[in-house]
């Protein structure tokens, strides 16, 4: 029972890693840019949801209605934010060296954290959701409703994204643009707009992750640092595979509670659980440098 308990808690945490990693990989695959502000976009999304829900509840709406309206609304707001971010900040530096983008997104992260601190204060806050504090007992395993919501929400989002990329014209065009940008241009695909749309999707997914994460954590301007672990997940997944990112996120999430529970019993030093995900990343990088689920294509000449 204990194993199952640990596993479910870990998987829930892993879902959040997976969703953020998804955002990293989406942007990287399409534009070959690494967005180090991904975690901070999550943080802003969580604050936006917090504000919307607080506003709605203050007007006497029920928490259920407030939450279920705030969730899609936040995703739309953050999608617009992601689109604008690419249009205003990233598109002008297309063609510059990689590190320019890296530095830019790191700097954007600082700006977002500072702005969030100024707008919403640096005090940790909690997001009220319909799931908060509820428990479901299933054959001796106690499930937090928040954890269940994270797992269901992640599964749902992953399915929607899968269907979108697989079956819609724009979704397939996004894949095309990420696989061969020049050929996509020749097909008349508006590649720059597609890239902005990918930033929009990525920001919306990060916002969803933020809302799902908020009930099991607290909201503060530094909550975006969870993005570092998600980055490790993206690397483990191969930084080019969407399912790989989610699966690697789940793996990381699942490893952590076990490292915490059994690590101390096995007499490992205290910090080991916290760095377990990075140790796992290092092992993967040594054994399989391309990541677990990498897509590699060598052009025929």
């Amino acid at each position: 029972m204990e194993v199952l308990q640990l596993l479910i808690g870990g998987v829930a945490q892993g879902c959040v890693y997976g969703l953020i990693a998804l955002g990293f990989v989406l942007i990287y695959k399409a534009t070959e840019q690494v967005n180090f502000a991904q975690g901070d976009i999550l943080m802003i999304g969580a604050y936006v949801a917090l504000t919307l829900i607080a506003e709605a509840v203050a007007r006497g709406w029920s928490i259920h209605l407030a939450f279920w309206l705030a969730l899609p609304l936040t995703m739309v707001v953050m999608a617009a934010f992601g689109y604008a971010l690419d249009r205003v900040a990233l598109r002008p530096i297309i063609g510059q060296p990689q590190f320019a983008v890296v530095i830019l997104t790191i700097a954007l992260g600082f700006v977002f954290r500072a702005a969030a601190g100024a707008i919403w204060s640096t005090e940790p806050q909690t997001l009220a959701t319909p799931f908060t504090g509820k428990k479901i007992v299933l054959g001796g395993v106690i499930l937090g409703a928040e954890s269940l919501a994270i797992i269901v929400g992640t599964a749902f989002l992953s399915l929607v994204l899968f269907a979108f990329f697989r079956y819609t014209r724009v979704g397939v065009a996004m894949q095309a643009a990420s696989q061969n940008q020049l050929a996509a241009y020749y097909m008349g695909i508006p590649v720059k707009v597609i890239f902005s749309l990918i930033w929009a999707i990525s920001a919306a997914v990060a916002a969803a992750a933020g809302i799902l994460l908020a009930p099991i954590a607290t909201i503060d301007p530094n909550m975006g640092f969870i993005g570092l672990k998600a980055f490790a997940a993206a690397v483990i997944g191969g930084f080019g595979s969407l399912p790989g990112a989610v699966i690697a996120g789940l793996m990381l999430g699942a490893i952590e509670p076990f490292a915490a529970a059994y690590g101390s019993r096995a007499g490992l030093p205290k910090g080991v659980p916290e760095v377990s995900s990075y140790i796992f990343m290092l092992v993967v990088l040594i054994v399989r440098p391309q990541g677990l689920f990498a897509q590699i294509y060598k052009k025929k000449v």
């Binding site: 894949q175 696989q179 020049l182 097909m187 695909i189 590649v191 052009k299």
Partner: protein
Amino acid sequence: MAATLLEMRNIETFYGPIMALRGVSLEVPEGKIVTVLGANGAGKTTILKTISGVMEPQKGSIVFGGKPIHRHEPDWVARQGIAHVPEGREIFPFLSVYENLMMGAFTRHDRAALGGDLEAVYGYFPILKERADQPAAYLSGGQQQMLVIGRGLMARPKLMLLDEPSLGLSPLLVQEIFGIIRRLNEERKVTMLLVEQNANMALKVAHHGYVLELGRIVMNDTCERLRESEDVKEFFLGMKEEGARGRRRWKRKKTWR
């Protein structure tokens, strides 16, 4: 004489400080195949890239169907009805063959006609139908070249820019591809601008030819007359002429020098 579909006037294109096109002018009449011959680095691909908007010309104008198209984004140019079939099998490797073809039709909104065009492409290249559900990366080189041409056709373009369709293909496949290029022109009236190193093939299939050397057009004639030209014979077709003293002159001058 058919109406001019594409007209390029005094185009100058640079790669950084290097001038790749030094005032190129050419015309593509509607319904014809026009070929541009030239050695490596003559600027053939640059002409096509300048037309499709991937490279911006510093000077000159390009008019397509009466509309200036230079200084526009490449996706805009494609939407005007120009399908660029790039050299080197620029496929979408992880999309299926079918999805690759449908991406060719990205600019089209007449969904009803797509099925018929897809069947037509499968008719020209039956192997693509057989392997429609496989990722394009699994196709052989020649099949990828067929896929790229088929993908270009799916746009139902007014003008097709073909960049070295014979590159790296076996002689038999080259024959086949050029046969299909001719059929496309005859059956579907597709206007084409064909860039080739394989001058022999290109001169057989095209109606009009330009010879490009170091970014300049040095000859411009019908393909029949180009085939007879001494310079083209020697420098592109590899035919050698007996010199007056029974020995070949080792430093024959080209007539345009």
